[in-house]
């Protein structure tokens, strides 16, 4: 029996090639994209789950309670001495490791000829304590972690061992972290699948940190977001214990600020999506997931529409089978089997397509986030579930309709469109498709405009043709060397301007904030202010405008400050000029405010412009900002590199263009935007395919009606109206559903961004216009052909 079903299904597909094509193409496309999306979503939801202590691992993070009842400030970091204090006070904590994140570092490998081979690392590294490896699971290829308790030791990944030494036999070999910290390799661990937020490739011992930094701010007063603390707990000391004891702990170590600081135990499973602490925006991932579901729904709707539309053609078969003794159930399962066959064919195609898609995605998304698909039992289960869902979603309804045909009527060919589920069912399905398409179009329009808004928004400073070069990271910058480099760089013909600053461009991820004592007030303000160390050329180089007062005078130490408008506003100076001459306390010194600069975005556009003051302090500069004349950038960079290596032979020439760096900061958004756009387009395309199929069917159905109408004098225009009116109605109904839903969702999405577009009528007009355009193109061709058909011919066939 089954072979008979398969035979007939197969022959049917061959006979109706265009239907088969639309169904299979739509379904495979939908399944491929859905599988890619689900793999991505799964990746994000499987982060770090493979660690055996996943459920019991926590990160201690800092939450600074706003003194004015505003938003709290969050940092994934903790004060340097926190780890020791926690262990002393709570000896029952199972394991605790302090970690110090290393980004933007390089390793120098001493070679026989005396010159170091330098490897710039793009991934993350971290200084860790041995207990780190009791919390997280690592597999060791060589050595182990025990010796990491000693200073000047390091463990590295297999990949990096091979990169540095072309072998994993590297125990005892020396690498120089950032070219200056000697580390002996004591362990090589197996590369992890990169579904982890702790993908550190190089892990020097935490005990080496003092030597690396020269000195360490060993008090509870400052919190660096790179200094972190992870713990694993057991029943001897639980999170509940911590929550109870933490306030007293804070009181003990920060008596003055006990009310304003919380050290929170953040479960490992919450880390990946904790946006407050630098995690991924879960909503973006969920939006993608929703699109994945939409893709499947749209493809299934195509299926239902085409299958029910086609049902008429199969009515004779149904009739005959019933006459020959087939039961309703047998027919139902026969048509389900057909659906299953088409679905499984599509699945096989999409598994092949998936391989390509995965490759493309990996290349395309590289750098945006770490991104791995991998197949295991649960993925297969997932795919099976999707397939079953598709088969049931798309097969059940048409199969029920077909199996329910009354045999006498079916044989007489008297089954009408009404009986085939009624046109109303298909209509509502088309409405659903249109609604999905319009929501996606609105979504795409909003995401795209928001991203281009980011791209084009005036940040308040210039970013073109400006190069930043990192100076070596040490506790106090060597001013003499800096000036040597400055002189060498200024001599390069295409260098127009040069300036030093702490954190490079005006907008960067590196933000320092501090409490503020203003004027002669007896106590600190209740808010904290951002601080930047810049030299006197900085404002000019970045084109930051002064609205009052003057620029800083050149100096190597703290002499005076300029503030931004937000700073003046926060202190209730309506006229920024009035604040000139007032004093603030900066790093223990009372200095005068000499200028007010126009607000610029010192942080990402997802944040408001905070109060800021800027002052000169040469020992605190870690970046060189170089404005280039438009010329051969590559040549200039080469020359600068030479000069840099001359002055800092032990360091690494790390450079970046400001506009590129700023763009990179929005890479996650941008990639997500691109993904959303791409998959949304696919969903719309699949919808179009289905629409085309449906219209073809309608045209075939209405051939006789059209013929009669034409004989009775209807014009081609009249006939086109017949199709047009139908679909116009559906589009409008869909719009009424889609518009508010999309508005609500996208508005919620935009709330993530402090600076955002507003969703205007334009976007909705665009969406409905696009839908009408797409629909008329899809419907148009078919209906024009139908309307042009010779009525004599179409009537004769009846």
């Amino acid at each position: 029996m089954l072979t008979n079903y398969i035979k007939i299904a197969f022959r049917n597909l061959l006979r109706n090639k265009s239907y088969a094509f639309i169904n299979i193409a739509g379904l495979s496309l939908g399944l491929t994209c859905a599988m890619l999306i689900f793999a991505l979503v799964r990746y994000h939801f499987s982060i770090d789950k493979h660690h055996s202590k996943y459920e019991n691992t926590y990160r201690i993070v800092s939450e600074f309670v706003s003194r004015e009842g505003g938003e709290n400030f969050h940092s994934p970091g903790v004060p340097y001495p926190l780890g020791k204090a926690v262990l002393t006070d709570f000896p029952n904590i199972e394991n605790l490791s302090m970690t110090e994140l290393a980004e933007d570092y390089f390793e120098a490998i001493p070679s026989a000829n005396g010159e170091d081979k330098k490897f710039k690392e793009t991934g993350e590294g971290a200084f860790v304590e041995p207990s780190f490896f009791k919390i997280f699971d690592y597999e060791w290829i060589q050595g182990g972690f025990e010796e990491l308790k000693n200073p000047n030791t390091v463990v590295i990944s297999e990949k990096n061992a091979l990169k540095y030494f072309s072998t994993t036999d590297v125990i005892g070999k020396i690498i120089k972290h950032d070219g200056r910290l000697n580390l002996k390799i004591v362990g090589v661990f197996k590369d992890y699948k990169d579904n982890t937020d702790f993908a550190y490739e190089v892990m020097p011992s935490y005990a080496s940190l003092k030597e690396y930094y020269g000195s360490i701010n060993d008090n509870f007063g400052s919190t660096n977001s790179s200094t972190r603390c992870v713990v694993s707990l057991n029943e001897k000391f639980t999170k509940a214990n911590w929550d109870k004891l933490m306030p007293a702990f804070v009181k003990k170590y920060r008596p003055d600020e006990a009310k304003y600081i919380h050290y929170v135990m953040q479960p490992l499973k919450e880390i990946h999506f904790s946006e407050d602490y630098g995690g991924i925006n879960k909503n973006l991932i969920l939006s993608l997931f929703a699109i994945g579901i939409f893709l499947i729904i749209t493809a299934s709707i195509n299926f239902v529409n085409l299958a029910t539309a086609q049902a008429l053609k199969r009515s004779k078969e149904v009739g005959v089978r019933k006459v020959l003794g087939s039961s309703k159930a047998q027919l139902f399962w026969q048509f389900m089997a057909e659906t299953a066959m088409i679905t499984i064919t599509s699945l096989l195609i999409s598994i092949v397509l998936f391989q390509f898609g995965e490759k493309i995605a990996r290349e395309y998304l590289d750098g945006a986030f770490r991104f791995t698909f991998y197949f295991d039992a649960s993925v297969i289960l997932y795919v099976v579930l999707i397939i079953l869902a598709v088969i049931v979603l798309s097969g059940a309804y048409p199969a029920l309709v077909l199996a329910g045909f009354q045999p006498v009527m079916a044989l007489k060919g008297k089954i009408s469109t009404q009986q085939v589920g009624g046109f109303s069912v298909r209509r509502s399905l088309v409405v659903v498709q249109f609604a999905i398409s319009q929501m996606l179009i609105i979504g795409m329009a909003v995401v795209t405009s928001q991203l281009s808004y980011f791209q084009n928004k005036d940040l308040g400073f210039k970013k073109e043709s400006i190069l930043t070069i990192s100076l070596p990271f040490m506790s106090k910058q060597d001013v003499v060397k800096m000036n040597t480099f400055k002189n060498l760089a200024s001599a390069v013909p295409d260098v127009e301007k040069i300036s030093f600053s702490m954190s490079g461009p005006p907008q960067s991820g590196w933000v320092n904030s501090t409490s503020l004592r203003f004027d002669n007030r007896g106590e600190d303000e209740k808010w904290s202010t951002h601080v930047k160390s810049i030299d006197a050329n900085y404002l000019d180089l970045y084109g930051i405008k002064l609205v009052a007062g003057r620029n800083l005078y050149p100096s190597d130490s703290i002499r005076e400050v300029v503030v931004n408008e937000a700073f003046a506003k926060k202190l209730n100076f309506k006229d920024p000029a009035k604040i000139i001459g007032k004093k603030i306390e900066a790093r223990g010194r009372k200095v005068e405010i000499v200028g007010v600069v126009k607000d610029f975005h010192q942080q990402s556009l997802s944040q408001t412009i905070e109060p800021l003051y800027m002052t000169t302090l040469a020992t605190n500069y870690y970046s060189v900002n170089v404005k280039l004349r438009s010329a051969n950038f590559q040549k200039v960079i080469k020359t600068l590199e030479k000069s840099f290596n001359q002055v800092y032979p032990e360091s690494y020439f790390n450079h970046q263009f400001v506009d590129e760096a700023i763009q990179a900061a929005y890479q996650e958004e941008e990639t997500m935007g691109k993904l959303i756009n791409f998959f949304a387009l696919v969903a719309i395309l699949i919808g179009c395919l289905g629409l085309y199929g449906l219209v073809s069917f309608m045209a075939a159905q209405k051939t006789k009606e059209i013929g009669i109408r034409k004989v009775l004098g209807a014009s081609i225009g009249n006939i086109l109206m017949m199709f047009g009116k139908e679909f116009a109605q559906l589009i409008i109904i869909a719009f009424v559903i889609a518009a508010p839903a999309a508005w609500w969702i996208m508005n919620a999405w935009l709330q993530n961004y402090e600076y955002r577009i507003s969703i205007g009528a334009g976007i909705f007009l665009l969406s409905i216009a696009t839908t009408i355009l797409i629909a008329s193109i899809t419907v148009g061709y078919r209906s024009v052909r139908a309307s042009l058909a010779n009525p004599v011919k179409s009537l004769r066939t009846e």
Binding site: M1, N4, V320, V323, L324, G325, S327, Q330, Q406, V408
Partner: protein
């Protein structure tokens, strides 16, 4: 074999009611060959469909092999049908996507006959109707006569006790028509009960008995010698 008493069938559309069968009574004995005749619209097909359990009646009684089946649900009717009844239609009603062989095999599949027995039965019946050489052709590749012979083969492949034929020669020329009538006669002689609807007096003469309908009622019976 079957006994129908006071059978009523009314078709209702929005505004009109058509009485297709009006208190019709009829009895057919095992091994009979009965022809049903009457003007167009008198309810012949309706009657045949009810006898074939493809349709149900409003009122009345329908005894099949001594069992009242008027209240049977679709599943039980399908079951009864596939074991006992073979159909031949005016428009052949072969499935276009299946070959001659596969079309004929279909009733056996629904009966769950095993493959070897299927092969043997299908080949035997194809031989009998003389389209064995066309076994792998699709219906569209056959002449009308061949298609109808294929349909007859399909109707009898599971050796039903009753064959229902609705104008089996209606779409055929006289030569092909006679061949089909010959087949039906042979089947009847082999013991199968045949009920045939026809407009042709010539074809009706193959039967033992002619029942004439008018407006959903039996108006006359002729017993042929």
């Amino acid at each position: 074999m079957l006994k129908i008493t006071d059978l009523e069938k009314i078709y209702r559309t929005e505004d009109i009611e058509t009485v297709a069968l009006n208190k019709l009574s009829l009895e057919v004995k095992k091994g009979e060959f009965v022809a049903i005749m009457g003007p167009s619209g008198c309810g012949k097909s309706t009657l045949l469909n009810i006898i074939g359990m493809l349709d149900d009646a409003e009122k009345g009684s329908f005894m099949f092999n001594g069992e009242e089946i008027i209240h049977f649900n679709e599943r039980r009717r399908a079951d009864l049908r596939k074991r006992n009844i073979g159909f031949v239609f005016q428009s052949f009603n072969l499935i276009d996507e299946l070959t001659v062989y596969e079309n004929v095999e279909l009733p056996l599949l629904y009966l769950g006959v095993d493959a070897a027995e299927r092969k043997q039965k299908v080949e035997a019946v194809l031989e009998k109707v003389q389209i064995m050489h066309r076994r792998n052709h699709f219906p569209q590749q056959l002449s009308g006569g061949q298609q109808q012979r294929c349909a007859v083969a399909r109707a009898v492949v599971n050796t039903p006790k009753l064959i229902l034929a609705d104008e089996p020669t209606g779409n055929l020329d006289s030569t092909n028509g006679n061949e089909v009538m010959q087949l039906l006669t042979e089947l009847n002689e082999a013991g199968t009960t045949v009920i045939m609807v026809t407009h042709s007096e010539h074809d009706a003469r193959f039967a033992h008995r002619i029942i004439r309908l008018l407006d959903g009622k039996v108006v006359m019976e002729n017993i042929l010698g």
